[in-house]
């Protein structure tokens, strides 16, 4: 059996979540989402199909914008961005995201950078993937202290986008707008439902015996460890080098 690095599970899961999008935008410091997008494109191209357009903010190789930092948001408002990633200092069971701070606003006990474009993009990008590796009840709370961007909106509020899935270091959740809330879709290797329940501050739906997150096949791993990491190195050299080093330590590097 091929040994798979935990981050490879995340990258391959992201590639699956992005399947079908025409244009995915990735934030400036998001090597794993970027790798997932690049992997999907490589897989599509290998299959003779057209892969997604990938815009990585702050990247030279993947910057198709020429109208300043407003263009990403304009582009999303025009319906030209199908998928985007959001993290969050806190995320709750309604998909609310807090990027501002913990405790009472404005004198937050812990202040995070701020909401960035989330308060807009969450409304207009159809497939927003919530991505946070740290899976603890500090991050996944019952109710966020500050709503940077709400997971759901009242009827009548213009909204063409919102949460699609939540990917963590322990598992993958889908967002069900109708309930609304998260449903555990799969658990990554090495983790289990009880552990996830203990580390999650909000209630979520789940099967009795959740599936394990699908692992990549050999061909996908080869593509990821070769071409994808090479392409990624143009924008995230340190991340690519670190991945290659860790893979080598595990004896998994495809040379």
């Amino acid at each position: 059996m091929v040994e798979v690095h935990p981050r490879e599970v995340l990258i391959c899961t992201i590639a699956r979540l992005l399947d079908g999008v025409r244009h995915v935008a990735v934030g400036a410091s998001s090597p794993i989402p970027a790798a997932g997008a690049i992997l999907l494109r490589a897989l599509k191209e290998k299959a003779g199909a057209i892969g997604p357009r990938i815009s990585i903010l702050g990247s030279v190789d993947h910057n198709f914008f020429t109208n300043g930092s407003a263009e990403l948001f304009d582009c999303a408002g025009q319906g030209r961005i199908d998928a985007f990633f959001l993290g969050g200092g806190q995320i709750d069971g309604f998909g609310n995201v807090n990027l501002v701070g913990a405790g009472d606003y404005p004198q937050s006990s812990v202040r995070w950078p701020g909401s960035f474009g989330s308060a807009y993009l969450y409304f207009v990008v159809p497939r927003v993937i919530l991505f946070r590796e740290e899976h603890t009840s500090r991050v996944f709370v019952e109710k966020v202290d500050f709503v940077s961007a709400p997971g759901i909106s009242e009827d009548g509020v213009f909204r063409t986008g919102g949460p699609y899935a939540l990917l963590t270091g322990k598992g993958l959740f889908r967002f069900d707008k109708s309930r609304p809330g998260f449903e555990l879709e799969s658990v990554h290797p090495g983790h289990d439902l009880a552990e996830i329940k203990a580390a999650t501050g909000f209630r979520f739906a789940h099967g009795e015996r959740p599936l394990q997150t699908k692992l990549p096949d050999r061909a996908t791993l080869d593509l990821l460890r070769g071409r994808v990491l090479d392409e990624l190195a143009g924008t995230y050299p340190e991340f690519a080098v670190q991945m290659q080093r860790e893979l080598a330590q595990r004896g998994a590097l495809v040379s």
């Binding site: 020429t66 300043g68 202040r111 909401s115 960035f116 308060a119 500050f146 940077s148």
Partner: protein, 267 residues
């Protein structure tokens, strides 16, 4: 446009002014930070377009800032902005938390001479709840309901940024960083530092003209090689991450911040 030098340019900034500053990667005039601190005009209302970093943290640390309107403040890979975060915790600065496109929208309203522009999103956020200057109305063009947020024009007194080049007529080459133009259009006074100053007009050929902020919008230009350091400048040089990490560590305390700033070479 007046060809100037840094200390003279800083005199355009008066206490209580609203000052717009660009995002880390667009061209931050770090060269102006010490002259601004020397100048000492306080009670500034900063507008980060659309986020802030090192310069904002240093101006806050120097006690010059009253409010910060921003979509985020951080030192990127070097983590949170230490003096900004301390000031937030102590309540010594007023926050006007925003989201990137709302900052762009406010500048666009000013650019167009309009009192506001409408913006989708925002409804149901705590950003909106804490902004008494933003207003929700029902879209007058819709048949029913359809709430939408109006963002009032942002009209900075001063915009300060750094760019690769200007010509001696005051035309500044901003390339595809068009938020710098948006800031300038919206502002009364525009102060620019550049890596180099050209003899020939940048408007003389269509290729360079396409990336020009015309002198019409530029109050003063000063020559400041490596003027974005320790930030990088697109197409010119990379960010000095080691230096930013050094700052981040030093500025964890007020004393460390003071020591760091004291050993910076004055302009």
């Amino acid at each position: 446009m007046v060809l100037s030098e840094l200390r003279a340019m800083a005199k355009h900034v008066e206490a209580g002014m609203r000052v717009a500053l660009p995002v880390d990667y667009a061209g931050v005039s770090m060269a102006m930070t010490l002259p601004l601190i020397e100048r000492g005009a306080g009670n500034l209302d900063l507008v980060c377009v659309p986020t802030g970093g090192l310069q904002v943290d240093q101006l806050v640390g120097a006690g010059l800032v009253r409010t910060v309107e921003t979509s985020a403040v951080s030192l990127g890979e070097a983590g949170g902005a230490p003096r900004f975060n301390a000031a937030v915790k102590e309540g010594t600065i007023k926050l006007r938390d925003a989201t990137c496109p709302a900052i762009h929208a406010g500048l666009m309203a000013a650019q167009k001479g309009s009192p506001f522009v409408p913006m989708r999103g925002l409804i149901g956020t705590d950003l909106l709840r804490h902004r008494d200057d933003w207003r929700v109305i029902d879209n007058p063009l819709a048949d029913k309901g359809d709430p939408i947020v109006l963002i009032p024009a942002i009209k900075p007194d001063v915009t300060i940024f750094h760019a690769p080049m200007a010509d001696r007529f005051g035309n500044v080459w901003i390339g595809r960083r068009r938020e710098l133009a948006a800031m300038a259009y919206a502002s009364i006074t525009v102060l620019v530092t550049v890596e180099r100053i050209l003899e020939e007009s940048l408007l003389n050929n269509e290729m360079s003209a396409a990336g020009v902020l015309p002198a019409l919008y530029v109050t003063a230009v000063a020559h400041a090689p490596k003027g974005a350091w320790p930030y990088g400048l697109w197409g010119e040089y990379s960010t000095d991450t080691v230096e930013i990490l050094r700052y981040a560590k030093a500025a964890r305390t007020a004393e460390g911040f003071a020591d760091y700033m004291a050993q910076m070479e004055p302009a």
